[in-house]
């Protein structure tokens, strides 16, 4: 297995800009992308650049972007900085003739997204966004079901995104009222909701469907953490449920088609068909669980086989997306995620956050500075 780590032939030189938590996943997965070599990492803080370079054996650690570009001349840069910096950094890189991979969310709003996409077109370089769930093995299987017509025409999509606020990022973000996340127009949702949206956009072709968004009611110091969105397109509808309270934390999508409906579980990496009884009356109550049992056995068999073949990596979707992005760069082809899709996801986010207006009340822990005085 491990011998397939980056071949040196036709190597693309890659740099990482921003050495926070998600950069670890990029550095880990880039090790196994064919034809890629990470030549540098860059962060405003030397300490963060150094730790990434040391842990992932990257030769260059920089704090100055211009210097990194001059000295290492990367073919592509992964922008893994906070979202409010994505647009300016991506434009700067594209204008210097570098291909860019931007972590989600692509930009803060659609105006910024347009700037980045035009910079890519103007400079003849590729830009890609981290919509990696679309390249997860289970989602690729779902796409096959859709394109081969096994589900019929899609009429509705439910997209569920769970979020654990007790996880490493959630804790940091909630304990720090100065965290960059609190300055985004959509707060917590802004950083995550794109994962739920881009699972809908392939099936709901409207440029901007009718959107109704609502959240739980915030109180002082406690920003909302629950978001519900209803989307109504010309012929397809969809729901988004973002929840940080529901357990277990889920990443699900249910597609309702005119022939069949399926539920895709990205955590378990399984597809479950919505079953109906083939036997009449009370026998049907036995028939459906029997079908579900056989399906579960099939999923277990498939996942075990994939595990034995070492295909059950957590960030498998990210690795596949990287692979396609670098293949597109080398072959001078279209990027793996169409620019129209990137723009639509950002525009839908704008509309959702326009309806749910992030306010001062949402900033956590607005507290007096001095509790006791000497």
């Amino acid at each position: 297995m491990s011998q397939s780590v980056n071949s040196k032939a036709t190597t693309s030189k890659v740099a990482i800009l921003g050495c926070g938590q998600i950069a670890d996943a990029h550095l880990q997965e880039l090790r196994y992308v064919p034809g890629v070599q990470v030549v540098a990492v860059c962060d405003q803080l030397q300490e963060l650049a150094d730790q990434a370079a040391r842990r992932f054996d990257v030769p260059g650690a920089f704090t100055d972007l211009e210097r990194m570009l001059t000295e290492t001349r990367p073919d592509a840069v992964h922008v893994t900085t906070p979202p409010h910096t994505h647009a300016s950094l991506a434009c700067q890189l594209l204008n210097q003739g570098v291909n860019v991979y931007v972590e989600k969310p692509f930009t803060v709003d659609v105006a910024e997204a347009d700037e980045v996409l035009s910079a890519a077109r103007r400079n003849g370089k590729l830009v890609c966004v981290g919509h990696d769930h679309l390249f997860d093995p289970v989602w690729l299987r779902l796409q096959t079901l859709v394109t081969t017509g096994q589900l019929g025409e899609i009429v509705h999509v439910d997209s569920v995104m769970g979020y654990n606020l007790n996880g490493p990022f959630g804790k940091i973000m909630f304990n720090d009222p100065h965290h960059w996340l609190h300055r985004l127009p959509g707060g917590l949702f802004h950083n995550n909701i794109s994962h739920a949206i881009y699972k809908i956009t392939p099936f709901l072709s409207d440029e901007l469907p009718r959107i109704h968004a609502t959240t739980d009611r915030p109180t002082v110091g406690h920003p909302p953490t629950e978001l519900r969105v209803m989307l109504q397109g010309e012929s397809v509808t969809a729901n988004i449920r973002f929840s940080s309270r529901a357990r277990p934390v889920q990443r699900l999508a249910t597609l309702y088609g005119t022939k069949a409906s399926v539920e895709v579980d990205l955590e378990a990496r399984t597809i479950r068909w919505c079953r109906s009884a083939k036997l009449p009356g009370a026998l049907g109550k036995l028939d459906v669980p029997w079908q579900q049992l056989r399906e579960a056995a099939g999923n277990l068999r498939r996942n075990t086989w994939d595990f034995l073949r070492c295909r059950q990596h957590y960030f498998a979707g990210m690795r596949e997306l990287f692979t396609r992005f670098y293949a597109a760069i080398r072959a001078e082809q279209e990027p793996p995620i169409p620019y129209e899709e990137i723009r639509r996801v950002t525009a839908w986010m704008d509309e959702i956050f326009r309806q749910y207006k992030f306010t001062e009340i949402d900033v956590p822990a607005s507290i007096p500075d001095l509790v006791g005085q000497a």
Binding site: E47, R311, L370
Partner: protein, 348 residues
Amino acid sequence: MYLHRYPILLARLEFMKFDKLCVVTGAGGFLARRVVRRLLDAGATVRGLVRSSSTANALLAEIPPELRDRLEIVIGDFVREADCRRIVERSSVVFHIAAQMSGSVSPLILTNVVGTKRLIAAASAAGVERIVVISSIAVCDSQRLRRLAIVDESLPLESQPQLRDPYTYSKVQQELAARAQCKQLDLPLVIVRPGVIYGPGRGCMSARVGLTVAGMTLVIGGRQSLPYVHVENCADGIVLAGVTLGVDGQTFNLVDDVLPTGRQIVRAHQRHGKRLRTLTLPVFLVRRLSSLVQRYHHWSQGQLPAVLTPYKVDAMWKPLRYSNARAKQVLGWQSQVSLESGIASSFV
């Protein structure tokens, strides 16, 4: 309630007329709030940094009303330069106890390394007389030591910290950064490296005993001494490191006189009615297994994380002896809370 625990310490502090303004970061924490209490009892004025109003209120509730007028609680974050400047203003000694203990490497580095550097810079600019940085005994490079060799302050820092857990990595970087910056800025520095801190409210189970897998505690070795220090003993040592004259530039490992073994910790849990499913594995077997885990991790391109590696096993469970001689000789520190009463207290 507290006073009977450290009469010798108080006597020394009273003798020194230690009435300076001390800053304690993470003042609401398990260890730091005990340091705060000792300093207040000794007559010092304390400025405690906490991150939230709820922590501030919890700390205040523990302090008797007659001491509160010498306690100032500041809500802030030492990673922010402005907060650093604010908290060290006019202070004499800074006890930097706050640390992030879990999470991935980058936030740990940001808090434990970048934050420490910013605090040191602010302390130097404010003319602080001494900063005491709390590190961890895990930073000692015990890889090349033989079985039952002594771990003391003469050991170098872990040479390949990136092969350890994220917390240890960040603490090694913190020590390196603190030393370099204090030297550059001419700020007197004392480093204290406690072992595993245990006591009331935190319990005494730790990864040094073993791993918990699917509800079962895998006790690794079980017979080797574990570098533990009771929280009250640790707080004594930290205060002494801050007030003892002539110790600038020194490092002190803090572990108790009598150290527990993994088996003792497990038995104590069982004695106190805790249901614990355990399986004891010899260290050599775990080391072999860890070698397989590491190989599989590489072969499978990271399908399973390398949670166990021979490097980590040696660092965590190799039978070693831990010395507290320097703290006792130089600081006059004593391990007042015995192992028996310390373990009993951790079930309170």
